[in-house]
């Protein structure tokens, strides 16, 4: 398999906090990779650096042979890496359909964007097609303010898929969704993504989902990668069990007691 994303010796610190230390990661075409790690391990920071939201303190990020470290998010999006967010990032006053049509319009260049209406039959058809892939076409005319968390998450991902990225980074696609809905949500997401053959790297806390959908797992701990390999091996790794899975289970127990 051809490598598409190559990250080497990546570091990021926020003052005294080291959020990323000597990160080396390669992602290949069509891969399904999960990123695990307890809260504050640096998972989101990693995604933020790859997608240009944060500038690394040092290190290299190459995508399809091009250096992208420190580029603006819009350049990186246009070059083929798209992302979703831990908390869905949407525009409260726009409908689902308008989100999608704006995402499509953002891909075209020139004066067309200044004078032709956003709404058109062609734009609607295209938008509805992607929404259909993600099972949310039924909500097309609802404004996001009125939507359930799961639908928002799906819309956030559908927007990221509009430009047919080669690499899709999903930051906790199932967070904020009820446990019994997580698998169904993941099924929909993966179904939608599979249409495009994009490589996917998703951050996930639920180990059942990780073992179901990932071929490879990267484990973060305090800004470092402590394990990186086939799913079964990493989930059985001693340090991973102690520092990550243990902690997550403890956190889940604490949370369930609070309920």
């Amino acid at each position: 398999m051809k490598p598409i994303l190559e990250v080497s010796d990546l570091n990021k610190s926020f003052g005294a906090v080291t959020a990323a230390a000597d990160i080396n990661v390669t992602i290949h075409e069509n891969e399904m990779v999960a990123v695990i790690g307890s809260n504050g391990a640096g998972k989101t920071t990693f995604v933020n650096m790859v997608t240009g939201y944060l500038k690394p303190t040092s290190g290299r990020i190459q995508f399809c042979g091009k250096d992208i470290a420190g580029r603006a998010p819009r350049e990186i999006s246009r070059s083929g890496i798209c992302r979703s967010f831990q908390v869905a990032q949407l525009f409260p006053e726009m409908t689902i359909l308008e989100h999608m049509m704006l995402a499509f319009a953002a891909l075209q260049v020139g004066l067309k964007n200044y004078f032709y209406p956003l709404h058109s039959q062609a734009a609607e058809t295209r938008a509805l097609e992607v929404l259909g892939d993600f099972g949310i076409a039924g909500h097309a005319n609802a404004r996001v303010g009125a939507l359930a968390q799961g639908v928002r998450k799906l819309l956030d991902i559908a927007i990221a898929m509009v430009s047919r990225p080669q690499l899709l980074l999903l930051d906790e696609p199932t967070s904020g969704v009820a446990i019994e809905e997580k698998f169904a949500l993941m099924e929909t997401v993966m179904g939608g993504v599979r249409q495009t053959k994009a490589a996917v790297m998703f951050i996930e806390h639920d180990m059942e989902i990780v073992s179901q959908y990932a071929r490879r797992v990267i484990a973060f701990y305090e800004g470092r990668i402590i394990a990186n390999g086939p799913t079964k091996e990493v989930l059985a790794h001693a340090q991973v069990r102690e520092f990550i899975i243990g902690e997550i289970q403890e956190a889940a127990i604490v949370a369930s007691k609070h309920d």
């Binding site: 525009f91 953002a106 303010g145 009125a146």
Partner: protein, 327 residues
């Protein structure tokens, strides 16, 4: 699913009525209509900026630039043709807006508001101190010509009135299109979430920049029309209270449609005229009271009065009614 766009038709009807109106209106009313439209044009720019979340306390800058461009065009360049003068004013607004926009599109919120205020006050300061530009007295403007033909006073009034109405119709249509275009939606998007817009592959700065330039050009046009209408310009056009008036009108009218600026301007001018007559000392109090009432009872401005009983289509921006239905 998509509603038929009634705006172009409404623009044509309203413009036709106004053009016919000239032959029926008393002179003071025709003068007032031009005043209303000139100010509304500036307010259209304020509305465009507001939709992206920016409040400019300095649109007087471009209003003034437009006015002085007409006066200087006459005095320095010896231009008297109305169309050339108006084009010159818009070009001046375009150039100034394009340059200052590079700077202004970096600022948001109160910083943008104060910065725009500061720029307009600088112009005010310069103009009111420059003897050759008439200082605080300003400059006079002679009657414009049409294609080199000198006109009688009444004809010139007709020319200014007609030109104003037709140009306003064109601007309204163009801005209406803009608001419904991807850039128009992107303006609303950058107001709510700039980061997300970046990730869509758009540059938020470009969105702010194009809004800023559009607002500059229409404000300069408004200033130029005011100059021709009154035959006079003065530094007060750039004074902060003038800019404040534009925001005042924008709030009165609302921001959900371009035409709201015209409605706001008409109501503003009418109330001011009558308030001045009825209570010369208290007209500001009356206007202030009206604005407070509008903010309390019609938070989306007077324009929401035109939306009552209407289920707006998916392309419409203010869907207060729909939102309540779906929750």
């Amino acid at each position: 699913m998509r509603a038929f766009d009634k705006t172009p038709l409404a623009i044509v009807v309203a413009t036709t009525l106004l053009l016919v109106g000239f032959f029926v209106f008393p002179a003071w009313l025709s003068l007032m209509v031009v005043t209303i439209i000139a100010k509304a044009l500036v307010v259209v720019g304020v509305v465009v900026l507001m939709r992206s979340g920016l409040v400019s306390f300095g649109q007087g800058l471009y209003y003034c630039i437009g006015g002085y461009a007409v006066s200087l065009g006459e005095q320095v360049l010896q231009i008297t043709d109305i169309f050339v003068l108006l084009a010159l004013a818009m070009a001046a607004g375009l150039v100034a807006g394009s340059i200052l926009g590079l700077l202004m599109s970096r600022y948001r919120e109160i910083f943008f508001a104060m910065f725009s205020l500061a720029l307009s006050m600088i112009l005010y300061g310069i103009l009111s101190r420059t003897q050759s530009l008439g200082s605080t007295d300003g400059l006079n403007i002679v009657q414009p010509t049409l294609f080199g033909i000198k006109l009688a006073t009444q004809q010139a009034k007709l020319l200014i009135y007609f030109t104003t109405c037709v140009l306003a119709a064109l601007v309204t249509y163009a801005v209406h299109r803009y608001i419904r275009s991807p850039l128009g939606y992107a303006s609303m998007a950058v107001r709510d979430n700039e980061i997300r817009v970046e990730y869509l592959g758009l540059a938020p700065k470009k969105v702010f920049y194009s809004n800023y330039v559009i607002a500059s050009v229409v404000a300069a046009l408004g200033g130029a029309i005011t100059a021709l209408n009154y035959g006079h310009v003065q530094p007060d056009m750039a004074y902060w209270s003038q800019s404040g008036e534009f925001i005042f009108i924008a709030l009165m009218g609302g921001t959900s449609h371009v035409a709201a600026a015209f409605l706001g301007s008409a109501v503003f001018e009418t109330i001011r005229t009558y308030a001045l007559e009825l209570a010369p000392d208290a007209w500001r109090v009356i206007l202030g009271g009206v604005l407070i009432a509008i903010i309390c009872f019609l938070p989306k401005g007077l324009w929401s009065l035109t939306q009552f009983g209407k289920r707006s289509g998916s392309s419409d921006w203010d869907r207060v009614v729909d939102e309540k239905d779906s929750t």
